[in-house]
Structures are given as structure tokens and as C-alpha cells.
């Protein structure tokens, strides 16, 4: 197992290098520089600024400079937030995104599984139809439609919850964005749980158990639950990616100072180092999380444990 994990981590290094090179080329290929503005700088000041940030060097020199910084763990200074380094910014934004992501993820898993199981156990009933329908709608309606409508209802009209991040504190300000972010994932997980539970319940060994007179409840708990959860585990990777993507929109709508918002601002402002830093950071995160999911899968599924 340990050897497998190490091999996987080593195997991820080329991926990371590819990410870094791609991101570097793309940000520098984008037209316009980080310091362009409608108020155009006098040429001598433009030259001073370029020199201060090594933008007067060739692209290859800049890439080597960046890589050598990266090896030392230095993501460089931010061009937009001139008092901060990229590491500072990610360090500040990450806890916020993590809080939001974890809340959404746990909401999605708990509510999604509960709804999916309920539907599966009463297959073709009205409850099942209701869950299936709501889940389908949850998948279909984009999050940027749901989120503003929720703000309008719960923050502006009803005044139950804060409209934005800074308007509240603690859990209250996490509720609306967390729920909005979780909704599509709840829908996916509910559908997945329902389908996989139904499949397991109609499998031979469950039928055998049933023939032996076991009650549905104990069949579900002792025989069906674990195998039914396996497809869910492999969905966790895509789910995490989905939540990362969704958080870009959610952070924009609710004004949450998370990593996604920094990325968009960084891309629009040509904050080269900030964009690179976030891309590298996210790629690393996704690689590690996928590895964790794989290892978990190995632990839970005896069939592939020997690998």
C-alpha cells in the first residue's frame, strides 16, 4: 500500500510539471500586462516597473526564475496585491474556501445519501418520484441562478441570513453559499446512491439473505450498505472537483474572499504569479485527494486490495 502511494505521488510529478508549463505559457500569452491601465504610465515609469518585477527579462529567464523559486517553496510576490506574496494570499484565502467546501461536501454526502436511500427503499413510490424529480432539477438548474434567488429571498426579503460574507459571522454567513454550493452535489449523490442501492438490493446475495428471512433493515445495514457505497467513493473525486469549480461562482456571488475569487481577479488583472500559484496549488490538491480516494477504495473493497 505504502509503495503504491509513493509510486502514485512520483507519477504525479510529470503531471505537475505539465500544469506549471501550461499555466506559465498561457498567462504570459494573454494580451496585456499586469500594470496596464487606462491611465497609461509614462515610459520611464513603465520601464522602472518592468525592471522591479523582472518583466524585462526573456520568457525563458522568467520561467527559470519562477521554477527556481518554486523549488525553494517561494511562489513569488503578487503583482496586484503589492503588499503581499502569493503564499500569503493563498494562505489567507484557503481557510475560507476549505470551510465552505467542507460544509458543502458534508451537506452533500449526508443529505444526498439519506435522500438516495429513502428513495431506493421505497422504489417507485411518490417519495421516490419526488426525490428523483428534485434531484434531476438540482442537477439541471445552474448554481448561478439558484444563488442570487436565494440571496433575494432569504437575505433581502426575509432578512434571516446575511447577504454576504462580511455581513455575518460564524456559521450564519456560511449557510447560503454552502447550501447553494452543495445543491448540485446533493442531487448527484442522491441519484447515485439510489441507483447503486437498487442494484445491490436486486443482487443475488441480497435475495438469498431475504430468502433466509432477514428483515429489510438488517439486510440494508449489514449486507447492502457497504457495497452500495463503493460507486459513491469513486464519485468523491469528481465531486471535489465540482465543488472547487462551483466555489468560483459562489465566491463571486457572495463576495467570499476564497481562492476562486483570487483566481478570477488574478486572471483578469494578469497577476501572473497569483494565477500560477493557485493553479499549481489546486492541481496538487486534486492529485492528493484522488490518491486518498483510491487508497480508501482499496481499503473498503476487498476485491482490489491485493493490487
Amino acid at each position: 500500500m505504502l509503495r503504491y502511494a509513493l509510486l502514485r505521488i512520483l507519477g504525479a510529478i510529470p503531471t505537475l510539471l505539465l500544469v506549471i508549463a501550461l499555466a506559465f505559457l498561457m498567462v504570459h500569452a494573454a494580451p496585456g500586462g499586469p500594470f496596464d491601465a487606462e491611465r497609461v504610465l509614462p515610459p520611464e515609469i513603465e520601464a522602472n516597473v518592468a525592471r522591479a518585477y523582472h518583466l524585462d527579462e526573456s520568457l525563458a529567464q522568467q520561467f527559470v526564475r519562477y521554477l527556481s523559486g518554486l523549488v525553494r517553496g517561494d511562489l513569488g510576490p503578487s503583482y496586484r496585491y503589492r503588499d503581499y506574496s502569493v503564499a500569503d494570499l493563498i494562505g489567507r484565502a484557503l481557510p475560507v474556501t476549505l470551510q465552505l467546501g467542507l460544509l458543502a461536501m458534508s451537506l452533500a454526502v449526508v443529505v444526498g445519501i439519506a435522500a438516495g436511500l429513502t428513495a431506493a427503499l421505497s422504489k417507485n413510490s411518490y417519495v421516490d418520484r419526488f426525490v428523483t424529480g428534485v434531484a434531476m432539477t438540482g442537477i439541471s438548474v445552474p448554481v448561478f441562478v439558484i444563488a442570487p434567488v436565494m440571496v433575494l429571498i432569504f437575505a433581502v426579503y426575509l432578512d434571516w441570513l446575511p447577504a454576504s460574507w462580511t455581513g455575518g459571522s460564524g456559521v450564519s454567513r456560511l449557510v447560503l453559499p454552502g447550501v447553494a454550493l452543495a445543491l448540485p452535489q446533493i442531487a448527484y449523490i442522491a441519484r447515485l446512491t439510489r441507483a447503486s442501492m437498487i442494484a445491490v438490493l436486486s443482487s443475488d446475495y441480497v435475495r438469498t439473505a431475504r430468502a433466509q428471512g432477514l428483515r429489510t433493515r438488517s439486510i440494508v445495514r449489514y449486507h447492502a450498505l457497504k457495497p452500495a457505497m463503493l460507486p459513491l467513493l469513486s464519485y468523491l473525486g469528481p465531486a471535489i472537483a465540482g465543488i472547487l469549480t462551483g466555489s468560483v461562482v459562489i465566491e463571486e456571488v457572495f463576495g467570499i474572499p476564497g481562492v476562486g475569487q483570487f483566481f478570477i481577479r488574478g486572471a483578469l488583472n494578469r497577476d501572473y504569479t497569483l494565477v500560477m500559484g493557485i493553479v499549481i496549488f489546486y492541481a496538487t490538491l486534486v492529485i492528493l485527494l484522488n490518491l486518498v480516494v483510491d487508497l480508501l477504495y482499496g481499503i473498503l473493497d476487498p476485491r482490489i486490495r491485493g493490487r
Binding site: I139, Y282, N290
Partner: protein, 284 residues
């Protein structure tokens, strides 16, 4: 086996499935309306009328869905949005399909080390934060309509490649492939003349599931202001514009949002139904 023969059983089964029939009918209806609707309306999608901005739905002068902030007819614009959105989504799906099928079929058919390497590359690409690259792509290449298709297609081909590879692996064991090999058909011939037609059913099903994903990505890009150029529009762009006006003129959000949700719902139901029709074992 021809491509046509491959979908015959699907068509037969689909006729019996109510979900498929209903969602396909709604989709066709919306598509038809998008094509002929603008002909029936007296308004043009780009003509502004500053004296009649924010007219409510059904409120005279044939503004079925009302008008927007510049007095443009929302019905005609929504229909244009449907056309553009479906076009983007279908092209994107075809791109992802082309890459995914070729990649997956080759990996699955050749097998061995080639397969291992090719699938490792897919795994590696899965780790790329694609949405970030799409945003960067849009920034680099400005607003290039064609590029939106390619970018979205480039996101979605990975799933397709995995599915096709799996199918190919099992098809490879079948007798007709052995027979073809015995009579001397080349590897390329087997892949494209014998294996891919048999994949057709699965591919069609997954394409109906890829389209709503592509629609979502397109509307996300529109939400971030990286979509099509005015006065052209897409459903995502219309919804995004409606969000800003949702208090003063809720129909600007609701009308395109309902149409968008309806299209996505129908595609998802259609995909579900077709999957059941193709693979009865997975019936849920």
C-alpha cells in the same frame, strides 16, 4: 454491422419508453420554436426601443416574454439564445466525442503497454484544474466563438475515452472481431469499421448526457462575462443579465431560466432513458 443497424434496437426500445418520448418531444418542440419563432414575431433580436424597456410578458405589441433593459424583445432573444446554446453544446459534444472515441477505441483495442500509458495520461489530465484552464484560454484567445466549443469539448472527452475503452475491451473478445482479423482486416479497419459501429449506442447515450454538461459550462463562462458577443446571446448570458434585474423585472431572469432548466431537464431525462434502453441491466 452498419451504424444504422446499431441504433435500430435503441429506437425500438425508446418508442416504448415514456420518459424518452416525452423529453424528446419537448426538446424537438423547443428546437422547432427556436427555428421558426423569430419568423413569426414582428421583432428583431437586436432592435432596441428605449421607450419600451422593461415591458412585462404578454403586455401588448407581441412581446410574448416582455422586453429587456434596452427594449429588445425577450422572446426573440430567448429563441436566439436557445439556438446558440444548443449549437455550442452540440458542437462541443461532437468535439469531445471525436477525441474520446478515437482515443478510447485505440487504447482499448491495442491494449498492453500502449493502453496503460494512454490511460495514465487520461488520469493525469483528470488532475488538471480544467475550469481554470478554460478561463485562462478565454483570456488568452479573447472571445473566439469557435474556441468556446473546442474548450468545452476538451473538458469532456476524458469520460468518453474511459467509457469507450471499457466497451472496446469487451468487444475485442467477441467472435466477429476475431473473424475480421482472420480474414486479414487491418487494425485500423477493425477499429473504425467493426468496433466503433458497435460502440455507437453507448456513445449516443453519453452524448445526450454530455450536452447538458456543455450547456452548463457555456453558461458558467457567460456568467463570468466570457461568453458570446452582443447582440448575439446565449441562454447563459440571458440568465446572467436577468440576475441583475431580478427585482425590477423578474421575467428577464425567469423566462430564459425556465427554458434553460427545461432543456437541461429534458436532456438529462433523455440520457437516463436511453441508457436504460441500451443497457437493460442498469435499469433503475
Amino acid at each position: 454491422m452498419s451504424y444504422l443497424a446499431a441504433i435500430k434496437p435503441i429506437v425500438r426500445k425508446s418508442r416504448e419508453n415514456r420518459t424518452i418520448v416525452v423529453s424528446l418531444s419537448i426538446l424537438l418542440l423547443i428546437g422547432l420554436l427556436a427555428l421558426i419563432g423569430p419568423w413569426l414575431s414582428p421583432h428583431h433580436y437586436a432592435s432596441t426601443d428605449f421607450e419600451h424597456s422593461f415591458v412585462g410578458p404578454f403586455a401588448g405589441d407581441w412581446h410574448l416574454f416582455g422586453t429587456d433593459d434596452l427594449g429588445r424583445d425577450l422572446f426573440v432573444r430567448t429563441m436566439l439564445g436557445v439556438k446558440v446554446t444548443l449549437f455550442v453544446a452540440i458542437i462541443a459534444s461532437v468535439v469531445s466525442l471525436g477525441i474520446g472515441v478515437a482515443y478510447g477505441a485505440i487504447a482499448g483495442y491495442v491494449g498492453g503497454n500502449v493502453d496503460a500509458v494512454m490511460m495514465r495520461i487520461v488520469d493525469a489530465l483528470y488532475a488538471l484544474p480544467f475550469i481554470f484552464f478554460v478561463i485562462l484560454l478565454m483570456v488568452v484567445f479573447e472571445r473566439n466563438f469557435l474556441l468556446i466549443f473546442v474548450a468545452i469539448g476538451a473538458i469532456n472527452w476524458l469520460d468518453m475515452a474511459r467509457i469507450v475503452r471499457g466497451q472496446t475491451l469487451s468487444l475485442k473478445q467477441r467472435e466477429f472481431v476475431d473473424a475480421a482479423r482472420l480474414i486479414g482486416v487491418s487494425g485500423r479497419g477493425i477499429i473504425f469499421r467493426h468496433i466503433t459501429p458497435n460502440l455507437f449506442g453507448v456513445v449516443v447515450v453519453y452524448m445526450t448526457l454530455t450536452i447538458p454538461q456543455a450547456i452548463l459550462v457555456e453558461s458558467l463562462l457567460s456568467f463570468l462575462g466570457l461568453g458570446v458577443q452582443e447582440p448575439q446571446t446565449s441562454l447563459g448570458a440571458l440568465v446572467n443579465g436577468g440576475v441583475g434585474n431580478m427585482e425590477r423585472a423578474p421575467w428577464l431572469l425567469l423566462m430564459p431560466a425556465i427554458v434553460l432548466a427545461l432543456i437541461l431537464l429534458c436532456f438529462n431525462f433523455l440520457g437516463d432513458g436511453l441508457r436504460d434502453a441500451v443497457d437493460p441491466k442498469k435499469k433503475t
